[in-house]
């Protein structure tokens, strides 16, 4: 018999759009409901089959080259127009200039405020990556507790390489990994279990966008409901986020630092 649960809720679950509490409730329901289990399987199937639509059409190379040049020229013109305007504007120490200076100071204050908003939003994105992964029915694309399987899997999928520390003999268990995107950059996500908790390790190539958006170096901090720590090692940016204890997050971070000096 058909279940009365809204099919959109099942879809939201697979799309990683439920909160972890909602996802847990739903998982419990699905375990006891054959109808919904069937729906989940079919929806997963539909989602998977649509992956072939990615990159189905590719631009004509000659046309692409021409358009990219046009866009490049357009972008440079737009930027230069701004620069010319600045050259023409001579600042004189008039009341108008003083007023302008006051406005600039105010704008700077707003900018600093916005910058911290950007950081908060990016932090939320990192936290969302973690939550959507934990809530997902198939949280990882490569399932393995063996670092020698997980590390090579990322080769060719992300534009950098990193070392996975040996977790055997520690309280941590490697579950697997998947490719994620932050600020349009591909990155690696490792999912690690510690007791009932999950820890996400997110690794991205260091970029000006990321440096702007996130604090470069931090000890383990509590942000919203998560413990989070971030650091940079060479060209790599590491974020570790979890609902586990701060001590455990710190310990895993230390293992990662040692493996990626």
């Amino acid at each position: 018999m058909a279940c009365e649960l809204n099919p959109a809720t099942l879809a939201a679950y697979l799309d990683g759009e439920l909160t972890s509490a909602e996802a847990a409730t739903l998982e419990q329901h699905v375990r006891g409901c054959a109808w919904c289990a069937g729906e989940v399987a079919e929806l997963m199937h539909v989602r998977r089959s649509l992956r072939v639509a990615r990159g189905r059409y590719t631009p004509d190379p000659a046309w692409k080259k021409r358009v990219l040049q046009e866009i490049g020229a357009g972008a440079r013109t737009t930027t230069r127009a701004g620069a010319r305007w600045f050259d023409r504007t001579r600042l004189e120490w008039s009341p108008a200039a003083i007023a302008a200076a006051v406005v600039l100071v105010l704008l700077a204050a707003v900018w600093i405020q916005q910058r911290s908003t950007v950081r908060n939003e990016t932090f939320r994105e990192v936290a969302d990556l973690h939550v959507s992964d934990v809530a997902s029915a198939n949280p990882v694309d490569v399932v393995s507790s063996d670092r020698h399987t997980v590390k090579p899997w990322f080769a060719g999928r992300v534009p950098f390489s990193f070392n996975v520390p040996e977790l055997a003999g520690t309280e941590f268990t490697l579950i697997g990994g998947r490719v994620v995107y932050l600020e349009q950059e591909p990155g690696a996500q490792l999912l690690v279990a510690v007791g009932p908790h999950r820890i996400s390790v997110l690794i991205f190539r260091a970029s000006p966008e990321l440096e702007r958006a996130l604090p470069s170096e931090s000890g383990v901090q509590r942000r919203d409901a998560f413990q989070m720590t971030a650091w940079r090692s060479g060209d790599l940016r590491f974020f570790v986020v979890s609902d586990a204890e701060a001590g455990e997050v710190g310990k895993l971070a230390e293992l990662l630092r040692q493996a990626n000096p």
């Binding site: 058909a2 939201a12 799309d15 069937g38 399987a41 199937h45 649509l50 639509a53 490049g72 908003t117």
Partner: protein, 174 residues
């Protein structure tokens, strides 16, 4: 954001946006026009793009709006784009004829999926592309489509049900 960053940030999205444009427009010539116009508009309005938000979603929105006002878009709109919302049983999913295991093992050929996707109404195809190909979140899709998140959920649900039906037909000859 400063237009100086435009090239660096927007050009990597080129192929992906072309793919979406070709899916929406249905042919190469219109897709090329659409991508070119989208980039021109995006560059012009780049100062209004907020750093830290999803540039792909922002550009998808421009691309979609450009498409809807284009000749091809107006034609698509007239026929099948804006259907009335169907709050009744319209979104109920088809009963499963097979066991989940069997369905999971079954692999449609790529061509069948492509044909099924192409056979859908433009609005259904669009939301499936935004979700599965562009991998936008519900919130981002709501921004691109200019509708509430609840509408995104119901449209997506219906589009998936129709795709399933289309695939079912092509598989079992029902």
């Amino acid at each position: 954001m400063d237009p100086a960053h435009f090239e660096q940030m927007a050009l990597p999205l080129f192929d992906q946006l072309y793919n979406l444009a070709h899916w929406l427009a249905g042919n190469r010539t219109d897709a090329e026009d659409l991508v070119q116009e989208t980039y021109a508009k995006a560059l012009k309005g780049f100062r209004s793009f907020e750093a830290g938000t999803n540039l792909r979603a922002w550009m998808c929105r421009i691309l979609r709006n450009t498409f809807l006002t284009s000749r091809a878009g107006l034609a698509a709109r007239k026929t099948s784009w804006l259907e009335d919302e169907d709050p009744e049983g319209g979104e109920a999913l088809a009963a499963h004829a097979d066991t989940p295991e069997r369905l999971l093992l079954e692999q449609e050929s790529q061509q069948q999926v492509m044909d099924a996707l192409a056979s859908l109404a433009a609005g259904d195809r669009e939301i499936l592309l935004l979700c599965e190909v562009e991998e936008l979140s519900y919130r981002e899709m709501a921004q691109v489509l200019d509708v509430p998140v609840g509408t995104v959920m119901s449209r997506l649900s219906r589009a998936r049900a129709r795709l399933r039906a289309a695939l079912g037909r092509s598989n079992h000859g029902v």
